[in-house]
């Protein structure tokens, strides 16, 4: 994944919570208070801020995969890291190990809306993962298999998120297709905490939303919401 921070304004002009996070929560039934893709607002050296949407970094040398005692998290051949919540023992060492804070725990029974009643659990959709297990962003493998791009990318109003394949050397934000290696070099892409040697598969193009017309001095974004949580609570109360 490539995230063009020049185009990301944290959805300030949408007057809404970041669309990527919202689409992720809406489509993947991400339980509150998890944000598999989270828009951090980071201070800039000269004052003002930038927004950094942060999904799982899908590291090539993933600390979480390294430390898992039961092999419940692993690299797929396509290059994403998945979790088998039917094997996870809930020791949370992977969460301690992740330097990006991209792993979340089902402290109680994860809330889910009634429309998930017939969804069958699989490590590729994580709906129905039981309490006491770890969850995270997985780059929507079921969509990928069907030839689609992840929900967060589909939802981004500014085309700031690109999704592609390092080996095919192509990436798309749903509007245009770029040659990945050229795009990364020409726009001085970097990776988060590169010095740690985790070799993330998520790249960032530096910026503060200028392509979306954002002034770095304009701070704040709308807080994240879980629109289906009332439904989920009512459904849980009625005994599911």
């Amino acid at each position: 994944m490539v995230i063009d921070l020049r185009a990301c304004d944290g959805c300030q002009d949408e007057q809404a919570p970041p669309r990527c996070t919202a689409a992720c929560i809406q489509s993947r039934y991400v339980p509150e208070p998890m944000e598999w893709i989270e828009c951090y607002e980071k201070e800039l050296p000269g004052g003002g801020t930038q927004f950094i949407p942060t999904p799982c970094q899908q590291c090539q040398n993933a600390p979480c995969v390294n430390v898992c005692p039961v092999g419940a998290t692993w690299h797929t051949p396509e290059g994403t890291v998945l979790i088998d919540q039917e094997r996870c023992i809930g020791c949370r060492l992977c969460m301690a190990a992740c330097p990006y804070d991209r792993r979340f725990f089902n402290w109680g029974d994860p809330p889910r809306p009634p429309e998930t009643a017939f969804v069958r659990y699989s490590p590729e959709n994580q709906v129905g993962a039981p309490r006491g297990t770890v969850m995270k962003c997985d780059f929507c493998p079921e969509l990928a298999r069907a030839g689609w791009i992840p929900y967060c990318i589909q939802a981004c109003p500014h085309g700031a998120l690109y999704w592609g394949d390092l080996e095919e050397d192509l990436a798309t934000n749903g509007k245009e297709v770029v040659v990945l290696s050229r795009f990364l070099s020409e726009h001085h892409a970097y990776r988060l905490k590169e010095e740690l040697g985790t070799r993330p598969r998520v790249y960032y193009v530096p910026g503060h939303g200028q392509n979306a017309g954002r002034d770095p001095q304009r701070r704040g974004r709308h807080p994240t919401r879980w629109p289906w949580k009332g439904k989920a609570r009512r459904w849980a109360r009625s005994g599911r």
Partner: protein, 480 residues
């Protein structure tokens, strides 16, 4: 044989004192056990609510995902180092004064390990899947290293506790014939493995203990190193530190010495072991505690100076939270109450008494709890991404389980008091006999050397030799 010599009298007195807790049980004991059982039951009740609702009943959340349970895990595994240090290291170095306290030290090791090893299970999100560790265990994971090293250490400690118990179990078998319930006599008969004290048995026991005491030391060192690796294998600022293994081992021995001093003081008071556990034992252990105060200060200075000199962003945050922020009360308590005051209590002759050293041990135990807490929680509190630092406060469930864990620790020790002699009778007797032979000779030699006229003319003034020494039957290994 004739009249009883002082050595034999000492041994009889010792046997009676050491076996007294096994034969007589006062009302206070039942009250204590009852009280401990209540607290354990309360802890179990808290745990059932955690099983019912999930870990959501704790104060832990995504950003601070470990708390009191992991703190207690580190603390208890640390305290378990008491036994190895007091018993094995002092045995290897042949420090004779250790004899009356080795048994208690070995008890602490086994019990602290049993309680400590439970804490990660309590912390587990899916305790029902614990077998996955065996089914799908990966050697690359520090959790599996922990599982392996702790079970090895527990097995080794149980063997190491059991071996020197054999002659004493035989003693119980032979002495506690009348009035003892049948299960108990049977227990001693079976557990003493037919010990008769024959030369061959003694030789075998001697070499078995000798082997275990050497083996158990590297195992103990490795265990707490591996515990620290749970933290040091992550990419988090205060944890990602090559010094952590040595630091944790030092802290473990430090809290272990404090643990043994506390247990020693309690049992000495309750069972009137004053003749065997003397002020000398407290002072000697106090010196060890004092030495470890210095080692801990050394490690803290090393850690804070090497990281603080460079002061990257995470280190700066960590220092702020320790010195002046959310964790400052705990940190300053550890620094002043857990290191400085105990160090002074031991250093100053006026407070280097049993009471002073027990006070120091209480402070060290509390200080080390605080240290474990701010290592675990403080390490997780340092923000990894641009967000406000999270906070953690244990809930009633966690406090209750902590109370239950300490009560369980006390309960198992209390039960052990009724099953096994608390003092290694044969080792103390043997040591006493050795001293009885050696001390008069040494005194005589010193006497002779300090007299300008030489020993020949001073012969009449030599101290009295111990009467009947040669007639005294030897228990255990015999004099060498």
């Amino acid at each position: 044989m004739g009249a009883i010599g002082p050595v034999e009298a000492f041994r009889r007195r010792l046997e009676e004192r050491a076996l007294a807790p096994l034969t007589r049980t006062g009302r206070g004991y039942y009250l204590l056990v009852g009280g401990l059982l209540l607290v354990v039951a309360w802890g179990l009740y808290a745990y059932t609510s955690q099983l019912r609702e999930g870990l959501v009943v704790t104060g832990m959340r995504d950003r601070i995902m470990w708390g009191l349970y992991i703190t207690l895990f580190v603390l208890f595994i640390g305290i378990s180092h008491a036994g190895t240090l007091i018993s094995a290291i002092l045995r290897v170095t042949n420090a004779g004064w250790r004899a009356p306290i080795t048994r208690m030290a070995e008890f602490i090791t086994v019990v602290a390990l049993m309680v400590g090893a439970l804490m990660p299970l309590v912390d587990l999100g899916r305790p029902d899947r614990i077998l996955n560790l065996l089914l799908y265990g990966r050697w690359q994971s520090p959790v599996v290293w922990d599982l392996l090293s702790i079970t090895t250490y527990l097995t080794g400690s149980v063997i190491y506790l059991y071996l020197p118990l054999i002659p004493d179990l035989a003693l119980c078998r032979d002495r506690l014939l009348q009035g003892a319930p049948r299960w108990r006599r049977r227990f001693f008969r079976v557990a003493s493995l037919g010990w008769r004290g024959t030369p061959r048995q003694r030789r075998l026991l001697g070499s078995a203990i000798g082997m275990m005491m050497v083996l158990i030391i590297p195992v103990a060192v490795s265990v707490h190193t591996v515990v620290s690796w749970i933290f040091a294998m992550t990419l988090r600022e205060p944890w990602d530190n090559p010094m952590f293994g040595a630091y944790f081992v030092a802290g473990a021995i430090f809290s272990g010495i404090a643990g043994i001093i506390l247990l020693m003081a309690l049992l000495r008071k309750i069972y009137r072991f004053e003749e065997y556990i003397t002020a000398r034992h407290f002072v000697n252990l106090g010196y060890m505690l004092g030495a470890f105060v210095l080692i801990m200060i050394y490690f803290n200075v090393s850690e804070y100076l090497t990281t603080g000199y460079k002061m990257n962003e995470e280190v700066a945050f960590h220092f702020r939270q320790l010195f002046a922020g959310e964790l400052a009360p705990l940190y300053w308590f550890y620094l002043l109450g857990g290191l400085l005051v105990p160090g002074l209590l031991i250093l100053l002759p006026a407070t280097r008494s049993v009471a002073g050293i027990v006070t120091a041990a209480v402070l060290v135990t509390l200080g080390m709890w605080a240290e474990r807490y701010f290592i675990v929680v403080g390490g997780l509190r340092v923000p990894l991404m641009p967000y406000e630092a999270a906070s953690y406060a244990p809930t009633w469930v966690e406090w209750s389980i902590m109370a239950g864990a300490f009560a369980g620790f006390g309960l198992i020790i209390a039960l052990f008091c009724k099953l096994f002699p608390l003092i290694a009778v044969w080792e103390v007797a043997e040591h006493h006999e050795e001293e009885a032979v050696r001390v008069p000779r040494r005194v005589a030699l010193a006497w002779a050397m300090t007299r300008p006229e030489g020993p020949e003319r001073a012969g009449a003034e030599w101290p009295e030799p111990v009467a009947n020494l040669e007639d005294t039957p030897v228990l255990g290994g015999g004099r060498r």
